[in-house]
């Protein structure tokens, strides 16, 4: 018994001694290191490149010691107006040189410095109070200013060239060169162009109207004359009205826009003259209906319902009235051919019309119908353009996939810059 007690005492003693040796003295609590003082170093202000002279860009070094809840506030002052106005406020980790939305050939941004574009119009409105502006930057934490820079000044000036749009300019020049090559090529020998079913059906539609002794409705849509689709529509109207004049049929062109009506009047009159039927031309072929979307749709629907035309053409810019018109035309039993470049209206035309021209086919229609070599050559340019886009998309896809796999982020960014609109 005594032996057991002695063993137990020895074991407990050893445990206590080992515990004493194992226990380390608790070091005195360290005082928390004071945060690194917020500093705004190297603040510079320069004129924003490639703009109209109403913006400046501020740069200063990124401070790695900035806490996540530190904000930078940019102030601007005009020498003429005086006083400091807040122009921008952002968290300290945002807006570095890499975040400026300019391509690699026009901007060399670094993630080691902040770069803030200050749009002066946002602060002062359309008319700037002067030409010289001062800027300062303050660092804030918990709404307390912890650092502030010295003011810097800059005089924003307008620039004469947008270097950031250089990719766009190069592409445009390439298209112009191909365009003139195609035009000169078309003069020398003819070009093959694919058939467009919707346009081949125009003859059929006009022939049907002639046989039935019913009118043709040509609706140029609700676009203004500055819309490309309306311009294309005027070209098609010229060809359609020429055929109408040749067949001695009737055509009616209700208008939404008075300018379009004036242009279309000239186009139709010219077509009747070219067809050798100036006597058949009437001033009321083109008539203004309404400059209100639904009033226009209601009026044209009424005309279609009453007159039961043999053919309806909807060519141009259409919005919600596309279905209102095409459904009424379909119900009246007319053969319908539509064409628009508004992609979200195309499904309505697809379902309600017999033939539909999709976007670019609408633009090509005038050339296709006229068969003039010079105009037909433009279709070739469109095809070359599409080929270029297809090749670019293919190789761009490969570059981006390879870049993502091997981590070439700078390379991927550069490739994407080439095809980006700035």
């Amino acid at each position: 018994m005594i032996k057991h007690k002695a063993l137990l005492t020895l074991f407990l003693s050893l445990f206590a001694v080992s515990g004493l040796f194992a226990a380390k003295p608790v070091p005195p609590a360290k005082k928390a290191a004071p945060p690194a003082p917020a500093v705004i170093t190297g603040l510079t202000a320069v004129d924003m490149p490639y703009d109209a002279g109403n913006a400046a860009i501020l740069k200063w070094a990124v401070n790695p010691a900035d806490a996540a809840d530190t904000f930078y506030v940019v102030y601007v002052s005009s020498l003429e107006a005086g006083g400091w106005l807040e122009a921008d406020r952002f968290v300290s980790s945002a807006k570095t040189g890499k975040d400026v939305e300019l391509p690699f050939w026009a901007w060399d941004g670094s993630s080691l410095e902040h770069a803030v574009k200050v749009e002066l119009n946002n602060t002062y409105g359309d008319t700037l109070p002067g030409s010289v502006f001062q800027f300062k930057v303050a660092a804030e934490k918990n709404k307390q200013v912890i650092a502030e820079s010295m003011p810097v000044s800059v005089t924003p000036v307008g620039n004469w060239f947008r270097l950031d749009r250089m990719n766009n300019l190069v592409l445009l020049i390439t298209i112009i060169v191909i365009f003139f090559w195609a035009v000169s090529h078309a003069k020398r020998k003819g070009l093959f162009i694919r058939r467009i079913a919707g346009l081949d059906a125009i003859d059929e539609a006009i022939g049907r109207a002639t046989e039935m002794g019913k009118p043709i409705f040509y609706v140029p849509g609700i676009g203004s004359m500055s819309s490309i689709s309306t311009i294309a529509s005027a070209f098609i109207l010229g060809e359609v009205s020429k055929k109408v004049a040749q067949y001695d049929s009737q055509i009616k062109v209700p208008h939404y826009d008075p300018v379009v009506m004036t242009v279309c009047k000239e186009v139709v009159k010219q077509s009747y003259m070219e067809a050798g039927r100036p006597d058949s031309y009437r001033e009321d072929i083109n008539q203004f209906v309404s400059a209100d979307q639904f009033s226009y749709a209601a009026s044209v629907d009424g005309m279609i319902s009453r007159e039961k035309p043999a053919a309806c053409f909807y060519m141009g810019y259409f919005m919600a009235e596309s279905l209102l018109l095409a459904e009424v035309g379909a119900t009246s039993g007319a053969i319908q051919i539509a064409g628009t470049d508004v992609e979200h209206q195309l499904p309505f035309f697809f379902t309600a019309c017999d033939y539909t021209l999709i976007g670019e086919e609408l633009y090509a229609a005038g050339a296709y119908l006229s068969r003039e070599p010079m105009l037909v050559s433009a279709l070739k340019v469109q095809d070359f353009g599409k080929l270029f886009v297809m090749i670019s998309v293919f190789f761009g896809m490969i570059c981006v996939v390879l870049g993502a796999k091997f981590g070439w982020s700078a390379f991927v960014s550069s490739v994407l810059n080439l095809f980006q609109n700035f």
């Binding site: 766009n168 010229g238 749709a297 379909a330 992609e343 309600a352 050339a367 433009a378 599409k386």
Partner: protein, 222 residues
């Protein structure tokens, strides 16, 4: 005569077109001011052209009434409608509300114009149904694809459809909303972008044809 009818208009188109094109690459205030001036001129021309349109409208309907053409009764409503908006507009000095009260113009706008426009827009719903019916008649392989896509979308947008989907196709492990998401984000966007690319290239080429005077049909031919 050819100089006035052809060459001068073509020169105007060329110069205006090139300047407008250049202004896209020139950010200077001169360029901005040029575009603003052109926009102002466009508005002025539109205002005058609107007068022409009004005259055309009145003459067209006046002749219908005098000739007792088919549906001439509707032409009377053109004049009634015109007066119903113009007279209140004149008496209300163009204001729709004065001291929180509707003026005659405000009343006409709210209870005639807005009501009629709303009615016309509402008709669209019925037309969409009849169009959907027409598109659901499968006549070709493309129409079948359209039908399948539209059917899934319709199914996924109504609660009963979701129940039917889960009951019939739940074993696939794919919810109808995921399928809809895929249809809208992948094939629909791909098709839309294809159309957009074609439209953009077509627009550039059409603009070049007009600027360089290759397409001049809008001013008649030689």
């Amino acid at each position: 005569m050819k100089l006035i009818k052809k060459q001068i208009p073509l020169a105007i188109v060329f110069i205006t077109g090139v300047l407008t094109l250049i202004s896209y690459y020139v950010p200077h205030k001169v360029s901005v001011d040029y575009i603003e001036t052109m926009n102002k001129w466009e508005n002025i021309v539109v205002a005058f052209a609107f007068l022409l349109g009004l005259i055309s409208l009145f003459f067209s309907h006046y002749h219908k009434i005098t000739r007792k053409a088919d549906g001439w009764g509707y032409s009377i409503f053109v004049f009634i409608g015109f007066l119903a908006m113009v007279v209140p507009s004149y008496t209300s000095h163009g204001k729709q509300m004065v001291d929180g009260m509707l003026t005659p113009l405000g009343w006409s706008y709210k209870y005639i114009y807005t009501a009629l426009s709303g009615t016309m827009f509402a008709v669209l719903a019925f037309y969409i149904v009849s169009t959907a019916y027409r598109s659901f008649r499968i006549k070709s392989a493309q129409a079948f694809v359209l039908f399948v896509a539209a059917f899934i979308l319709i199914l996924g947008k109504v609660p009963l459809g979701q129940i039917i989907w889960d009951y019939a196709l739940g074993w696939t492990g794919q919810g109808v909303s995921a399928v809809i998401e895929w249809i809208m984000q992948v094939p629909a966007v791909a098709g839309k972008r294809g159309i957009m690319i074609g439209i953009s290239i077509g627009a550039i080429v059409t603009s070049l044809k007009i600027i360089f005077g290759i397409e001049k049909q809008y001013m008649g031919k030689d």
